[in-house]
Amino acid sequence: MSAIQILFWFLSGLALVSAIMVLISKNPVHSVLWLVMVFFAISGHYILMNAQFLAIVNLIVYAGAIMVLFLFVIMLMNLDKTSDPQKNWWMKLAGVISGGCLLMEMATLVRQAAEMKEKTVMMKEGSIGLIGNLGKLLFSDYVVPFEISSVLFLSAMVGAVVIGKKN
């Protein structure tokens, strides 16, 4: 096993364990912190593929900003243990089975997709993920979707201000 393979398995294991812990933690604050761990593991995967910009933006935006807002909300809501409704075990089982089916379908679909055939992830090399190349691509080939998404953000911001102004 090369260093990259060891890192890959380590990060994958970390991501999966953390993701499971997000679901089974009783305390919502713990769930958020495990979710932050998931983001770290995924950023590690991005770095293995030399997509440095994506890795770091994933950390800044998700781990650094959105999860902090999650924490804000959860800490201020003061969630009680009593408010957690207990579900039947067969409801949980049904959830696991249906969720698993969906996951399997998606996995097979992705694996069989025509675009994915004959393609492997570029490990360690490949420079498309570096910020200069990514920026050129975003502002030339993908400039329209990029600008449209910025309009989306603007409208979200305006919406937040309007809702906040109400009282």
């Binding site: 090369s2 950390l59 902090v68 924490l71």
Partner: protein, 353 residues
């Protein structure tokens, strides 16, 4: 397939490990003496002698302080979340120290026939890495405040976190203008550009950007006038109210590490990093390792000057009120940074770089 376990350059690995150890211990040592310097500067500004009993000139004072903190009884509140209570200060300290990985501390040195760059990793994303780590520093505050299971701690943690998030924004925007000029995020590259002949330090091109950046750095380090998260006298201490012993020490100490690191980052981005002013490094390439050491000394002197400014401000200006803090961040610094960005963009277009 060849069965060597790990295809790593072990020499490089060892070299980086030694470098990391040196940098971390140096950062901790400097932060240790920054606490001493803080008390001395406060003393000078308030016209009193300051700590002068432990050792000559009181030089052993930081060790005495550290010993005191370690020896104190360690209390974990009954209803505190134990693991997170311990994780909080650890996270604050880790986040403070992690930033030093991308800072270029000097040029190359040649040791045992190897070229050793005095930078742990010159990654492509450079300054963004710093931002990511800074944004993680918020968790140290929030987890500590929440895990204490104390309403005052929680409120202080929320206060601190919202301050950090607000000023991070203006900080990022103020840097965009600088990055438009440099065209790269790599800190090593930014320093090399400033060292070129005919190119001045970035402070000449970005005075407004630097002003916004230094204000935001004050806020990010929770220093006066922005030290609302831990305002001892009017808001009942802060997120570390329930902490005692070395865990409290870690929180207080991480502030000094943060201060040192942000001073170094300001020196790197705006004041030429390890560049010695009015001295042509390229012409003295035959000085070898000495040249690199002079560079390291240069960045350290710049950092010390910034640390002094941090302290000077702390003992001069009173604390803001919370609404003033938010108004300054959102209504003054963010628009100012945006205007700076627009002007810089226009000037770059005009000169058609």
């Amino acid at each position: 397939m060849e069965m060597h376990l790990l295809a790593i350059d072990w020499m490089l690995f060892a070299e980086k490990l030694v470098l990391i150890a040196i940098i971390i211990f140096a950062s901790l040592g400097i932060a240790l003496y920054t606490t001493f310097a803080e008390r001395k500067v406060a003393a000078i500004l308030q016209d009193r002698p300051g700590p002068n009993r432990a050792g000559p000139f009181g030089l052993l004072q930081p060790f005495a302080d550290g010993l005191k903190l370690i020896m104190k009884e360690e209390i974990i509140p009954n209803h505190a979340n134990k693991w997170l209570f311990i994780l909080g200060p650890g996270l604050a300290m880790t986040a403070a120290l992690m930033t030093c990985a991308v800072i270029p501390w000097g040029d190359k040195v040649v040791l045992f026939g190897r070229n050793i760059a005095l930078q742990i990793a010159d990654v492509n994303i450079g300054i963004l890495y710093v931002f990511a780590v800074v944004s993680l520093g918020v968790y140290g505050i929030m987890i500590g405040g929440w895990a204490s299971n104390n309403k005052f701690s929680l409120m202080a943690a929320l206060r601190g976190a919202s301050q950090a998030i607000s000023y991070e924004l203006a900080m990022g925007l103020s840097l965009i203008a600088l990055l438009m000029l440099t065209g790269t995020l790599q800190l090593g590259e930014i320093v090399k550009q400033q060292m070129q002949a005919g190119h001045y330090w970035n402070i000449v091109y970005q005075p407004l950007g630097f002003l916004i950046f230094i204000i935001c750095a004050f806020a990010e380090c929770n220093r006066t006038p922005f030290d609302l998260p831990e305002s001892e006298n009017e808001l009942n201490m802060g997120f570390h109210q329930e902490y005692s012993s070395m865990k409290l020490g870690f929180y207080l100490f991480s502030e000094y590490v943060n201060m040192f690191i942000s001073s170094v980052i300001m020196a790197t981005l705006f004041f030429g990093g390890y560049d010695v002013p009015f001295f042509d490094e390229a012409a003295h390439a035959n000085w070898g390792n000495w040249l690199a050491l002079i560079g390291v000394a240069s960045i350290m002197i710049k950092a010390v000057i910034f640390i002094f400014i941090f302290m000077w401000v702390r003992w001069t200006i009173p604390r803001f009120r919370y609404d003033q803090l938010m108004n300054l961040g959102w209504k003054k610094l963010v628009p100012l940074a945006l205007i700076n960005m627009l002007i810089t963009g226009a000037v770059i277009l005009y000169f058609n770089k």
